[in-house]
Amino acid sequence: MTIETPEFQGTHLWERLCWAKEKLEPYRSEYCIVWEDPNDMENPAKVTHPDPNWMACALQGGILPPVQSYWELKKDENKPDFVKHTRGPELLHNMKPIDAMTEEEAIEYLIMKDIPETVWRDWDKSNKPKMVICKKDQLPGTREWRNAWQISEDLVINNEVAA
């Protein structure tokens, strides 16, 4: 059964998430994002997994704010005199929610929301990619050497997925 999203512009994002938690089935994506932070090269590759409830919101549409809202919040937070967000209503709750995304679009949104810009802005402009979208079954099968994980320098990139 198709569930119609109420008109949520102007509704607190928290309330929208409460609605989604009650109404939508969580969606477990097969994708994850492997990335290396250029500012943290001593550490192993990180792996980001989308939250199933968040993914359901992204696929449903009409719930989440544009990703630019999070960038603006980050800019505010990075100011030296930052104490507390004052633009939450403007950026999160009153901004027109974005339409439904495909799973691939949702992953791209999540990258731009949750992964540092220094990783995704020019992910393929160095000796090897700083970021790869892959399926979970492509990750190593054991965590025995987890702290030695790195993105392979011989990686063959399928741009249809990763671009």
Binding site: L17, V47, H49, D51, N53, E77, H85, D114, R143
Partner: protein, 135 residues
């Protein structure tokens, strides 16, 4: 405001006749302020996975026993309170801090550790609840 089943009120009052007979009141905003704004229950072993959650965007596996939870609805400030629990395979576990990195308004990073060596270890169950004010 979501239209389904909404009751709008500012104060909850009880006569508390059964116990003390003394009327008690509480402001509903006080109730809301005390609610956990984020919670997450993850399996931090193998290919890590979120079992269930609220107000989470993603979980990042930073390495052995090192995780970052990101939020959908940002918190107002970095002054948040976290409660958590971890069970590490075959050992007692605990939730620990990560050097120089804990809260942003949109994320929380923590470690899970063995109780005996204090070393980072992957958690079979790690849970976090975040309290504080929403942006």
């Amino acid at each position: 405001m979501v239209a389904h089943g909404t009751i709008a009120f500012d104060t909850l009052t009880t006569s508390d006749q059964v116990n003390t007979g003394t009327e008690k009141s509480i402001d509903t905003s006080y109730v809301f302020n005390g609610v956990a704004k984020v919670w997450n229950n993850i399996n931090g072993t193998g290919t890590i996975a979120i079992r269930d959650s609220f107000n989470v965007g993603s979980i990042t596996d930073n390495g052995t026993g090192d995780y970052t939870h990101t939020y959908s609805n940002a918190m107002a400030s970095v002054n948040q309170a976290n409660g958590g629990f971890a069970r590490v395979n075959s050992y007692f576990g605990f939730l620990g801090g990560v050097i120089d990195d804990t809260f942003t308004t949109t994320s929380m990073r923590h470690a899970t550790n063995r109780h005996d060596t204090m070393n980072y270890a992957d958690a079979v169950i790690a849970t976090v609840t975040i309290h504080g004010d929403l942006a």
